[in-house]
Subunit: 748 residues, 2 copies
Amino acid sequence: MHMWLSAAAILWQVEPLNEGAGFLWLALGISVLALLTVFYFAQYVLRSDTGTEQMRTISDAIREGAEAFLRRQYKTIGMLSVVLAVLIFIGYRVSPRNAPLATKTVIAFLIGAACSGFAGFTGMYVSIRANIRTASAARTSINRALQIALRGGAVTGLVVVAMSLLGVGLLFYFFGGLAAPREVPYQVVGFGFGASFVALFAQLGGGIYTKAADVGADLVGKVEAGIPEDDPRNPAVIADLVGDNVGDCAGRGADLFESTAAENVGAMILGAALYPHFGLKGILFPLVARAFGLIASTIGVLIVRTDEKEDPMQALNRGYYVTTVLAIAGFAVAVHYLLKDNWWFLGSGVVGILTAFLFVYITQYYTEYRFRPVASIAKASLTGPATNIIAGLSVGLETPALPVVVIGAALMLSYWFGLKAFAGTSVVEISDYAKGIYGTAIATMGMLSTAAYILAMDTFGPITDNAGGIIEMSNQPEEIRVKTDRLDAVGNTTKALTKGYAIGSAALAAFLLFSAYLDEVKEIVAGRLGASAGSFKFSFDSVNLANVPVFVGAMLGAMLVYLFSSLAIRAVGRAAQYIIEEVRRQFRENPGIMQGTAKPDYGSCVDIVTTAALKQMVLPGILAVGLPIAVGMIFRYFTGFHVAGGVPMIGEQPINLIGAESVAALLMVGTIAGILLATMMNNGGGAWDNAKKFIETGQYGGKRSDAHKAAVVGDTVGDPFKDTAGPSLHVLIKLLSTITLVMAPLFV
Amino acid sequence: MHMWLSAAAILWQVEPLNEGAGFLWLALGISVLALLTVFYFAQYVLRSDTGTEQMRTISDAIREGAEAFLRRQYKTIGMLSVVLAVLIFIGYRVSPRNAPLATKTVIAFLIGAACSGFAGFTGMYVSIRANIRTASAARTSINRALQIALRGGAVTGLVVVAMSLLGVGLLFYFFGGLAAPREVPYQVVGFGFGASFVALFAQLGGGIYTKAADVGADLVGKVEAGIPEDDPRNPAVIADLVGDNVGDCAGRGADLFESTAAENVGAMILGAALYPHFGLKGILFPLVARAFGLIASTIGVLIVRTDEKEDPMQALNRGYYVTTVLAIAGFAVAVHYLLKDNWWFLGSGVVGILTAFLFVYITQYYTEYRFRPVASIAKASLTGPATNIIAGLSVGLETPALPVVVIGAALMLSYWFGLKAFAGTSVVEISDYAKGIYGTAIATMGMLSTAAYILAMDTFGPITDNAGGIIEMSNQPEEIRVKTDRLDAVGNTTKALTKGYAIGSAALAAFLLFSAYLDEVKEIVAGRLGASAGSFKFSFDSVNLANVPVFVGAMLGAMLVYLFSSLAIRAVGRAAQYIIEEVRRQFRENPGIMQGTAKPDYGSCVDIVTTAALKQMVLPGILAVGLPIAVGMIFRYFTGFHVAGGVPMIGEQPINLIGAESVAALLMVGTIAGILLATMMNNGGGAWDNAKKFIETGQYGGKRSDAHKAAVVGDTVGDPFKDTAGPSLHVLIKLLSTITLVMAPLFV
């Protein structure tokens, strides 16, 4: 605590450094402090008791499986990153106009990838050690168990946000941002793309792993062999527990690392457009606001405590409220020092924070069984699996409606605040568009200011889920199982909420990234025109769907989202098939397993699903990266399909922007399609899951009734929706933005 | 035949009437001839033998049920149309600027609705009489049965296309089109909206009816009572057979009536933009090309014959090939007389015809069990319903990819042909955009030139399906059942192909309708500026997604598609619930039904599903009509959210186009989302259906195996996809276009 107070004191002192550079050091300093806090939280977790020998055996198996997967996964991602880095370098070097940027772009890309990898690895390192300690603590104190799980999760939350802040800040500094603040933000776009690239494969691979293991374990375990979930006789049970870590923890961590990295970069680019008014401070504002969010989240985590009686969700919510209030306060301070006390910007920030709140509530409405949607699915289970699925799809298709309205309202309101903020000023160099968009960027910063806390709550999920599994498999008394079940139920809720938050922030961030892309294309063209431009003023601010190639680009963007989801879902099916065959083989060759006299070979299942998931993630990954690049590079030659007169003249040079514009449409409409489909899949999957849980509380005949069997079918269908395709779409949306930012020079 | 030869002779003679008016009379004359052919086909069907007394009893029940539904449905639609007509009238009258157009728009709307209703009723009148005659003929000659079913279907095909042609042509004439050819096309947009409005409710109501009856009959019949499909003991069996008529026949007829009507109107508007080059002929070309397509389709139907051994699909395909070749020839003739021998336009037409072919083949790939997608679903059924559903959804999500690529290529190629067509000319008044778009319009005409034949094949489906049901229920010998099964299998294929064709033509037509909308907004603004415009040149050709309100409009369009589908699917579930309860009640209260000693009360099931379907269609219908109007009328006041300086000046008047532009984005992105979701649902549903049929051929254990049970779940889930939500989305897409055309004056 006193650490943060001294940080506040530093803040007060740097005010005189009014040129702004001091704020870069402030943001970097806070992120280093946050990393020290990570170390403190990690120590807190690791010092805790690790329970009985039997618990340790199980926990060790999970830990080894998760570490083995993560090592192999990051090795694969590392190789793919190096290949891509070489391709980017060549792509830039081919044209003499882009060549000067080649080295910086590649360095930024590799550092972005490395930072994401480091954050993911650190987070996982602690969570797979926090699970057993949570389980052990649950035997004596639920408060202690809650704190271990949350602080274990906070390691992921803080390291993710701090590393993305530190990475962008240092790149900005070393690329000479203090000297050339208007150019350097464009040179760090590679960082965002590196983060996206790692996130794509981390989420895809983790998502395929977790659901292949889950579906496979359920189908042979529950359905064929008739043994309960988490039964130690099931050879796939450890793979299933490993999956919770690599999917929900490492995957979502990479997802939010990508969000914060992309938002940092995009917002700095938009800040550069406001340079005439705010100078360096407008560019540094995103970093400072993010740093204050880190402080708010840390305090939020620290104050969480509960007792034996309270619903642990209440305790987590208290932490969330405190974080939110502090984040708003931090925002106000940042507006005071950096944005000339212009309180309209605080309004935009509050819009973003409110959006986060609304998304969380909408997600609850669609996924909790107190409300109509889940109840309708449970009721439809009475007439069998077909009506359960139909009801679930109907609910899923309904779910994007409210989020779209909220995002639309947030965009329009924050844009309007942005315009208002400049209403009294007389700066003529800044377009209305740049003003309004900066408003939406600030709303996104607001939404993401609580990211570290949200991510801590999210990682709380797999930790408590694993803790429950360890308690179950080590035959602890029923009363302890009840306690970990309470924590696990809270974890299920927080996981669902985080998905809503992640898609909401991706949607809000998307618009600022579009604008950053348009700005970048404009800069590229301005650079080409160079001296020959004379007094010619060029702007690129239209993505005109009424143009045929642009419309075709838009259709391809939406199509990409569908095809990518199809491949992701199919990958789960294929990988699950391998697990099913392996479990059947073990049951067949070693009948002792089912009698409980022989131990199943957990390791072989972990191995098989690791190999399968890594293999299956490649095709959708390549599609996601390849299609936007292909459209941009091919469509730039489609002039003849667009205007009769050949390549149009801009200034005095023939420059064809149809490729860049078509890619923009691909990006925007792909984003819309992705938001809708991801929301449908996340919430539909969550609703199916909880409809099953609702029946398990005794409704419609309870467990083992026909209605329950029907609901299990729905739950299984929802699994790849909500844990593979849906979350991978969050990543895809942001990847489209960062890839177009990095590749823009090749589209013009 | 000689009738058509004399038509050709007339064609040769009118050439001297080179001003073009003669071509209007030609098109109208051909459509009257087509209606006479309808009369001839109807006589051909009605003169045929009606089989045994027992067959007639069943057929009478179907006929009465279908007629009762259609009467009540059209009564409801009629009332809604009158209400909407009053609202349109008031909306136009409120502003003095729009008031002069109020009467014409409302008249066109009501005539469009009436023509669609007349076409639907006539088509149904014959198909519900053709079923028993097909069944009866199947007892002696499969060729005769095939011809009765196809000619019965051709009644729908010809009456739909002829009525839309006649309606648009006569309105054009009576509104003074020959005197003011550049203004009148804008005044007949109401016709297209009338057609859309009827189609929306016809397809929704019919789609809900058919699947509620189907799902309901299956769930209580097959699943609960364990009796086979089409078993006369099932009280819902007649409702199920009625459903095939009102959904597939009346629904799809209204769908394609809407396509042809909207395309006629839209293409005439684009032709008006080319007036400086082609004069009246460019405006009349769409009508003439459509008329020639009618001739081609009639000849195609007439030549179809088969023998006892041949696969009847071969015979239908021969007819399709002949129709296609003749349609191309007719196109060439029309280009010769009306478009100055400019063969680039023939190229555009051929692109459209090829697109139709490709869509048909892609649909086959995804829905026939010879190919990978359906086979993968069948295989996944081995591990239960959950994996069947996951595999089916994965296939469904994959299916839009190829169609999107085909549509994209068709748009770009036909646009390029349009530009090329004008390459040598020196007309400066015509923009590149108008030239290219006319090329895409001609591709759409090409695609729709075979519409009457395709629709005949489609209606063939429910006729043969019903014929099979009548044979089954009247206890005819097995060998006759085998014959009708062969026809029924062909009917299933043609129904699937037509859906592919319908969505393809909707997608291609969409772009010309967007452009017509942009043209109309431009005309409205030009009209407002009037004298004050001076030499000011105004154009409205940008739909800029980078504007925040426009982007929000785009998101709302995509959201509408999801929400509408959700409501449509939920409506099926609700209506099916009523049927299930009624059948259970009958089984409970009258045990004689299951023993075969008492006759079930078919009528009460028909009644109940009629009431339920009509009630459930209202909410999604109102959403579809209301949202675009609301966005246009609300967003026009959102200037402050868009630019800082208040309402922008155009010429010398303050005119805010942000509402009109946001609606354009809603329309375009809604269309993209609709194409993708409809393709996914149509093909996914078809694939599930055929995966079940594949297993029924003996694969994976055949009928009654566990795999079969899993496949039945998939088939049931696919039902509301492919027969309710998917086809309703086709209609929705076009409705968005026609509604914006009609309401455009209220958005500016």
